[in-house]
Symmetry: C2
Subunit: 179 residues, 2 copies
Amino acid sequence: AAGEEAEELTVTVPVVRLRYGEVAEASTVALLPVCRAEEGEEGIAAAPGRCRAEGELGVMAAERGWARWVVLPGWGPVVAAGNGVAVEFVDGRVLPWRGSGGWEEAVLVVADRGRREVGAEDGYYLVGGEEEGRGKGLGVERGGKLMGKGVKEALGTVVLVVKPPREEEDDMLRDEDWD
Amino acid sequence: AAGEEAEELTVTVPVVRLRYGEVAEASTVALLPVCRAEEGEEGIAAAPGRCRAEGELGVMAAERGWARWVVLPGWGPVVAAGNGVAVEFVDGRVLPWRGSGGWEEAVLVVADRGRREVGAEDGYYLVGGEEEGRGKGLGVERGGKLMGKGVKEALGTVVLVVKPPREEEDDMLRDEDWD
């Protein structure tokens, strides 16, 4: 049964660790508004959409003011997100994968607020925390679990998880690390 | 006389042209609030200070919300500016240097609001435009000119001028281009 489950849980979200000094492997950067997980649904609603580069100087224009931002390399999933936001979790262990290795650390979860429908069992979604006893804090849940509870809409689809840079490079998250 | 004057006008402000993809290759980046020149002194006063990177994820935190930003490579003069702001001029010809070559283009002037004293004849300063007939729009003046008028304080010291990327690389501004 454990084997079957492991097979079923395909990793659908890329997890990347920033390298020191890396701002991109691509030729562009993305500027995303940042919410703290504690800010909850209100924070997600208040944060403006991802900044769009304007003009030849590449000035980034948001629909409204915001004070916390993160500059990420122009990775595909980030650039493709229509209405991206980055959520700052101070401890990656609250996320639904096993806390092996370097997960006792801060992580940024990038979600697309333009894709709220819970449509994939093996997708990961940004949700409010009321029912999970997290207070109003934000969390991440697997699509299958939400579907099992009849939840059809989340705050957004998780498109990327970013881990902070480290002295020793480690690999991408392995399948077995997901819960 | 022309020769003497040219010798006197040492270029004290670095002028750089961004290369395509350069921001992404930089090992550090700076996030600066952007004002349009038309926003004048009010815009300069309203724009928050440069964002500071917080924590291991490098989230950029500003003292208050703002909607227009620019991501620049972590160039020395930008990083050293205690209270940096970028001013967007839609036409570089309004700036006090000769309009040769590629200056009929947008430029970003990075100024340090923490250095308001007009202290160097050959420095360049960000000023309001009332007396120059620019309406309330911002401008850049040479220190010597301001001193000649008895102006002791400006809105900030210009630390860098950024030109947009171009297909054909051109060189740094030559001394003769300054007026």
